[in-house]
Symmetry: C2
Subunit: 321 residues, 2 copies
C-alpha cells in the first residue's frame, strides 16, 4: 500500500493548501470547515489511481481530482440539510453549526468552486472531462431525489433500489476513475472499462454498507447498530425481506415497520436471519464486485497500478464497519 500512500500524501498536501477566499466569511468559513473534516478522500484518490493506470505523471489529474472532491463535499452539505443530519464525520453539520441558509449558499459556492478546478483540466480532454462531470453531477441529483421519494413510497422494487444507489453513490466513484483515466491518456473504451469497474464495485460498497449497518461491528465506529432498521430505511435487506416474507413473518414485519418498540432491531434481524437475508445480500454484493473486477481485468494499462487499484478495492470490501 506504499503506492497508495504516495497519492494520499499528494492529495492531503493539495487539499490543505487550497485557497479559499476569506470574505464573506459566512460563505467561505463553512467551506473551509467542511473540507478540514476530510473523510477518506476516496474520490480524488480514485481520480489519481485512474490516471496512474495510464500515465506515469499525475500532475494533470490534480485539479479535476480536487474538483470531484469539492463536488462530493457539496452533495454531503446539501444532503445533510435535506436529512437534517446533526453530525457529519463526528462534527456538527453546517446547517446546525451555522444555519440552513448559510448551508444552502455555501454548498452552491462549493459546487461552483468544483467547476473552477475541473476547468483547469488540460485543454485536449477538457470537454470530455466536463461532459463526464456534468452528466454525473445530474445523475447524483437524480439519485438523491429517488432516495427522498422512496421514503414516502409504500413499495419499492429491488431494481429501483439498485438503480437509486447506482445514481446516488456509484456513478461518482465510476466518474472519478473515468476522469483520471481520460486525463492519463486512456481512450474512450479503456476509460469506460474503469468506469464500469467503479460503477459495479460502487454498488457493491453500498450493499456492504447496508449489511454492515445490521451485521457490522458497530461499536468500532460508535454507530448505532441497526440505524437503518430503526428509521425504516428501505435498504436491500429490508426490501428483500418484504419480498420474501410470508404469513406470520410478513405480518410481523409490517407491524414492526410501524412500531418504535425497543426490541424492533432484534425482532427485524430475527426475520432477516430466518429468511437468509444476509447471505442473499452478500451474494448480490459479490456479484456486483466480481462484475467490476471482470471489467478491471480487461484494462490494458500499468499492471502494478491495476493491482494497487484491485488491492485497494478488495481491502474496502473486507472492512468490518
Amino acid at each position: 500500500m506504499e503506492k497508495l500512500q504516495e497519492l494520499r500524501l499528494r492529495i492531503d498536501q493539495v487539499m490543505n493548501n487550497l485557497e479559499i477566499p476569506a470574505k464573506p466569511k459566512n460563505l467561505y468559513q463553512p467551506i473551509s470547515y467542511t473540507l478540514a473534516n476530510s473523510g477518506k478522500r476516496m474520490r480524488p484518490l480514485l481520480v489519481l489511481l485512474g490516471c496512474k493506470v495510464f500515465s506515469e505523471s499525475i500532475e494533470n489529474a490534480i485539479h479535476p481530482a480536487i474538483g470531484l472532491e469539492l463536488f462530493h463535499n457539496f452533495t454531503l452539505l446539501h444532503d445533510d440539510i435535506m436529512d437534517d443530519a446533526p453530525l457529519r464525520r463526528g462534527e456538527p453539520t453546517v446547517h446546525r453549526k451555522w444555519n440552513t441558509n448559510i448551508a444552502i449558499l455555501s454548498g452552491d459556492a462549493m459546487m461552483i468552486q468544483a467547476y473552477q478546478h475541473v476547468l483547469e483540466t488540460k485543454q485536449d480532454v477538457l470537454v470530455t472531462v466536463l461532459r463526464i462531470f456534468n452528466t454525473t453531477a445530474l445523475e447524483v441529483c437524480d439519485g438523491q431525489q429517488l432516495d427522498m421519494d422512496f421514503e414516502e413510497m409504500e413499495r419499492v422494487s429491488i431494481n429501483d433500489y439498485l438503480n437509486m444507489i447506482r445514481l446516488k453513490t456509484a456513478v461518482l466513484l465510476a466518474a472519478c476513475l473515468k476522469v483520471g483515466a481520460t486525463v492519463g491518456g486512456a481512450n474512450e473504451e479503456q476509460a469506460q472499462l474503469l468506469y464500469d469497474f467503479g460503477l459495479n464495485t460502487g454498488i457493491a460498497f453500498q450493499l456492504q454498507d447496508d449489511i454492515l449497518d445490521v451485521y457490522g461491528e458497530s461499536n468500532k465506529v460508535g454507530k448505532q447498530k441497526g440505524g437503518d432498521i430503526i428509521s425504516n430505511k428501505k435498504t436491500f435487506l429490508l426490501l428483500k425481506a418484504m419480498e420474501l416474507a410470508e404469513g406470520n413473518d410478513a405480518s410481523e414485519l409490517s407491524r414492526l415497520l410501524k412500531s418504535n418498540e425497543a426490541e424492533k432491531v432484534d425482532a427485524v434481524i430475527r426475520i432477516y436471519d430466518k429468511l437468509n437475508i444476509r447471505e442473499l445480500a452478500e451474494q448480490r454484493m459479490w456479484q456486483f464486485y466480481n462484475s467490476g473486477i471482470e471489467s478491471l481485468e480487461k484494462v490494458n494499462g500499468n499492471q502494478e497500478w491495476i493491482s494497487t487499484l484491485k488491492g485497494f478495492t478488495h481491502a474496502l470490501m473486507h472492512r468490518e464497519h
Copy 2:
C-alpha cells in the same frame, strides 16, 4: 424595437423547447415550472445583444444564453428559500408549492443544467466563457451572502451596499453581455467595455428598484408600496437617510425602524423627503447609468445594435414600476 423582438422570439422559441427530463418528477417538474414562469428573459437577451454588436449570426450564442438564464433561475429558486418568499412572479415559489428539500435539489440540478448549456459554447472561446461564468457565479453567491449579512448588521456603509448590489445583481447582467460579445468575436478589451456598460447600468437598475419601491406607481404591479421600508431593508435610500438624519429626524428614524405601526411607511417617506433622499438616490443612479453609457460609446461594433442596446437600457431606466 423590432430588432429586439426578433431576439426575444428566438429566446422564447428555444426556452419553450428545452428538453427537461421527465423523471424523477419531483426533481424536474419544479424546473419546468420555474422556467414556464418566464419573467423578462433579460439575461439571455443581453447575451444575444452582446453577440449582435460583433457578429451577424447569433446561433453560437444561443446555448450560453440559455445557460445564463438557467443560472439566474437557479439563484432565484435558492434565494426564495433563503428569504422564505411565498410568491415569485405572482406564482407560488417552489419551496412553498413542493417543499424546501425539493427546492434545494431542483435548484442544484438547474445549476448543473446551466453548465451543460454553457459547455455547448464553441470550442475556441469555451474556456474564456466558462471562466467568466465561474467567476460571476461565485460573485453572485458573495452578493447574496452579503445581502443576508447586512440584515443582521446595525451599520452598513453606502459603499458596502453598492458593492453588494454590484455582486448580487450587476455582475450577472455584465457577464451576459461579455459572454455574448466573446462568442460574437470581440477581443478582450471590447468585451470588457460591454461588461463595464452592463455593470454600471446594472447598479443603476438596482438603485432604481430601490427608488420605485418607495416612489413608484405600485398599484400598476400590485406590489405593496414601501415594502422595503416595512421590512427595514437597508437600501440606498434608508442608508443615505441614516447617514444624513440629525437630531429629531435621527431619533424618529431609529424609532420607526423598531416599530411596526401602520404609519411607518408614510412617516419614513416624510423623513426621506425632508432630507432630499429621492434626488440624492436619482443622482447616484444617473451617475452609474452615464458611466455605463460612456463605456458603451467606446465600443467599436455594429452601430445599429449598439443603438438598440442603448435604447433598450434607456427604456428600462424610464419604467415606472
